[in-house]
Amino acid sequence: MPSFQEIIFKLKKYWADRGCIIQEPYDIEVGAGTMVSETFLRVLGPKPYSVAYVQPSRRPADGRYGDNPNRLYKHSQLQVILKPSPDDVIEQYLGSLEAIGIDLRAHDIKLEEDNWEAPTLGAWGIGWQVMLDGLEISQFTYFQQCGGIDLDLVPAELTYGLERLTAFLQVKDSVYDIEWAPGYSYGDVRYQDELQYSVYNFEMAEIATLWKLFELHEAEASRLLKAYNPKSSEKKRFPLLPTYDQVLKCSNLFNTLDSRGAISVTERQAVIQRVRKLAVGVANAWVDQQSEQSS
């Protein structure tokens, strides 16, 4: 029975063997692996790029104080981007499941329609949720647009829910009972995170402070975006990646404010639009900046 970390090792190795760059998690809090620039910005433009990384994904509203056996404030996604997607991409994906010990002749695997959309990123794609014996273990998406831009090469995004997959393989009903490493359960490693972040997000986060932070990060991102000049000869050294970090900060603050119940009806759409505007702005600038570089 592979441990949580062994499953991660095996999957990383599997994808490394198929030409993926293995990255470590990005060091800014995000709601999904897609938001990391390794996906969000790298899928743009005409350059092939394949990468895999495990990204801790934070969803403040999903926190349950460590009480719910299946729901987590922070879960781990293995994010794989194959740009462009190879013709046998589904075969490769199924192979990765076999690589972690799932015999697909004895298990029921189905690809069920599920198109993905992230309004704050101006991104959407066509794809499936992958069901294994009735359990959703992955999301499979052919990206079509990102930052409101049609993609030159169509990347396949494979997202594995690592806790679920491990619970499945280890036959555990609670995610806290899965073995992370020999002698250590998931609960040993992560319970405190779940409890304390739930308390913070739902009870103690200072709404006024979060708003202030949101506005600071937003202002910084806007300021930088305005300073980007497509005609400048210096544009190649312009700090778009740090600009995008500011957008990620906004996104997480928005999620935290939301879980705190601090965003009203009328505000909600408007705030989503504010974040989207920044994300789309960075995406467009990035395409411009990178295209110049290749010529």
């Binding site: 589904i90 029921d108 695997i109 690809l111 069920e112 052919y142 079509q144 169509v154 009203s264």
Partner: protein
């Protein structure tokens, strides 16, 4: 000699619900190529769309085409040039006499094209033109679009490959088996095709897959669910049902919740015991041949247990805050953002309450009916909105009419769905739907073509059905307010309902609606009367007469306002008609019609409406006007399309 044809479009998994339509589309596009054939058969699995045809000719018949050349008077050089261009000696040209003069011409024999060539040219477009609701590109920007990537294509005419290339895929004679139980590449011939697939765990025929599922779960009493069966048929290539079970303790949860989890989230059939009650079992349909080790059953049982545990956790958590205590929370839940400050569900229920007036139960239900939107259970299982509110209201001691009204207030959700069972529920449902319609139309969110994101057609249809089938005594026009676009929109739904759903003839619907449609249950009663009257002998002639009256009045631009003077009526047919009309006034049309008809006929036979004397003319017009007013209360019979 004729040939069989096989086209298999091999793709990644196509959404099940799109497949039947896509196949019909494929048939139509194939027919459009114009290649003769004796029969067409269509099949599909999630990974292949297949068209087989029998009896294609090897080539089209040869034909002849007359090519016109220069005029007879043209210089010899031009004539020689023409002959050279056609590749024939000048002597082979003939002279053709046309209305424009005499010309050299040449009867060109055109060899019939080979079907293989026609197909090779046409098939890429046939494939790419198949309609799907949402398509994607996968080979790069500007590349071909299809529902999912095309990975292989089989195109055979007889024993030959029909050669073409699409999205980088070359057509060939290689198919692909089940993803894990079959081979990835299988050489096939047309006669062997279906059997070879079967060897590789692909059952090509949907009918056969359906039968396999049904037969193999015959030992269990499932709740019939044809839509789910159809889904399962089209998400599998080799379906095999298995039965699993769950802990009886979960049966304490409402059946609605359990069934929704199984049906919508897991695609399981629910199982009933011998008394028709929900049993702690389910049937899942796998896409493999067997579950020898029990992995799949245990896996599905574990998933279901987790889902049920979640549902129970939500159910218990939600009970900690009563629905009534959640009303204020609705201020933070958006109903329609375009309404700005009036856009929350709290605002919506206030408007519903205002519409409902002083019916205490209905008002109570309206206030509570949206509160379940703030519960965990509905956040998880949105399709149970309303139902969950109803169940909570029952547990929380709300009177039966109130909780049932909450439970039912989204009904009817489709044409097949029932309307709310009791009057209170009907009123709350009406108020909800009417508010949605008025709100959306008020801010210009009006459905166009196939775009109806707020499901306003369904809402309007629900309003119509509740008023008619619930026999609710409410004038629809006063519910709708005075937005002309909304009135027209709903009028359309009324027409659609009586015509397409209830099967009344379109002219009967027009006739009855022309006499008013504010009271829908009255409209229904009138339509039934018109329908019964229609086959009677005097009906159509009278309808024709009314059409004539209407035309006369229109031509004279006559709209009443004259006092009928009996003294001016001519003795005979005119006076008789007047007397008959007076005698019949206020009587049911059924009895009046046979007496009225001969008088009307005679009137038109003998009397000239356009009398030279203006007073007489006006009087006659008034007689006809009164007649059409008096006898058009059930329906405007001039709208009836008659054979005469």
């Amino acid at each position: 000699m004729t040939l069989p044809f096989l086209l298999e479009i091999g793709t990644e998994e196509i959404p099940d619900w799109m497949i039947p339509t896509a196949l019909e589309n494929l048939r139509m596009l194939f027919e459009k190529t114009g290649i003769p054939h004796e029969s067409v058969q269509l099949d599909a699995t999630p990974r292949r769309l297949v068209l087989r045809a029998e009896g294609l000719p090897e080539r089209q018949p040869d034909s002849e085409e007359r090519v016109m050349g220069p005029a007879k008077a043209a210089p010899a050089q031009a004539v020689a040039g023409f002959a050279r261009k056609q590749g024939i000696p000048v002597e082979s040209l003939t002279i053709e006499v046309t209305p424009k003069g005499e010309y050299y011409s040449f009867l060109k024999k055109v060899a019939g094209r080979r079907s293989k060539d026609i197909l090779a040219e046409a098939l890429p477009n046939v494939i790419l033109q198949i309609y799907f609701p949402k398509t994607m590109y996968w080979t790069g920007k500007g590349g071909p679009r299809f529902i999912r990537p095309i990975r292989w294509i089989v195109a055979l005419l007889g024993e030959d490959i029909v050669p073409f290339e699409l999205a980088g895929v070359r057509s060939g004679a290689l198919t692909s088996g089940h993803r894990r139980l079959g081979a990835r590449e299988i050489v096939i011939t047309i006669p062997e095709y279906e059997r070879r697939l079967r060897d590789h765990y692909v059952i090509l025929s949907a009918e056969e897959r359906r039968r396999k599922i049904t037969e193999e779960m015959a030992g269990v009493k499932i709740k019939p669910d044809p839509a789910l069966l159809e889904t399962l048929v089209y998400i599998t290539e080799f379906p095999t049902p298995i039965t699993g079970s769950f802990d009886t303790q979960f049966l304490e949860l409402p059946e609605e919740v359990l069934v929704t989890v199984m049906r919508h989230h897991q695609k399981y059939f629910s199982v009933e015991d011998s008394e028709g009650k929900l049993a702690p079992q389910f049937v899942a349909v796998m896409n493999i041949d067997a579950d020898r080790e029990g992995f799949v059953r245990r896996g599905n049982e574990r998933v279901l247990r987790a889902r049920f545990n979640d549902a129970r956790f939500f159910w218990e958590t939600d009970q900690k805050k009563k629905l009534a205590d959640r009303i204020d929370d609705l201020r933070a839940v958006t109903f329609l953002k375009d309404l700005k400050e009036q856009g929350s569900y709290h605002d919506k229920i206030e408007r519903m309450v205002a519409l409902l007036g002083d019916d205490a139960h209905a008002v109570r239900a309206a206030r509570l009916c949206k509160c379940d939107l703030t519960t965990e259970l509905v956040k998880e299982f949105t399709e149970l909105q309303g139902v969950v509110g109803g169940l909570y209201a029952r547990v929380q001691g709300e009177p039966e009419p109130v909780w049932q009204a909450i439970y039912d207030h989204y009904k009817p959700e489709s044409m097949e769905d029932a309307i709310p069972r009791h009057r209170t529920g009907q009123l709350v449902s009406l108020a909800d739907k009417v508010d949605t319609l008025r709100s959306c139309f008020g801010v210009g969110l009006i459905p166009t073509g196939s775009k109806d994101p707020y499901a306003l057609r369904r809402a309007a249809q629900g309003v119509v059905r509740i008023l008619v089938e619930g026999k609710v005594d409410l004038p629809i026009r006063s519910l709708l307010g005075d937005n002309p676009q909304l009135i027209e929109f709903v009028e359309d739904r009324v027409r659609f309902y009586f015509r397409d759903i209830r099967g009344f003839k379109y002219d009967e619907v027009n006739a009855a609606m022309a006499a008013g449609w504010n009271d829908l249950k009255d409209l229904e009663a009138r339509l039934i009367r018109v329908q019964r009257l229609r086959p009677t002998a005097d009906f159509e002639p009278l309808a024709a007469a009314f059409k004539r009256i209407k035309n006369i009045l229109r031509q004279a631009s006559f709209t009443g306002g004259v006092t009928l003077d009996p003294a001016l009526l001519e003795a005979g047919p005119e006076r008789d008609l007047h007397h008959e009309a007076q005698a019949l006034a206020g009587q049911p049309i059924e009895g009046a019609i046979s007496r009225l008809r001969p008088k009307v006929d005679l009137f038109f036979d003998k009397v000239l409406v356009n009398a030279p004397d203006e007073r007489i003319r006006q009087n006659r017009l008034m007689l006809l006007y009164t007649l059409s007013q008096e006898f058009s209360r059930v329906a405007d019979f001039s709208e009836i399309v008659t054979n005469s």
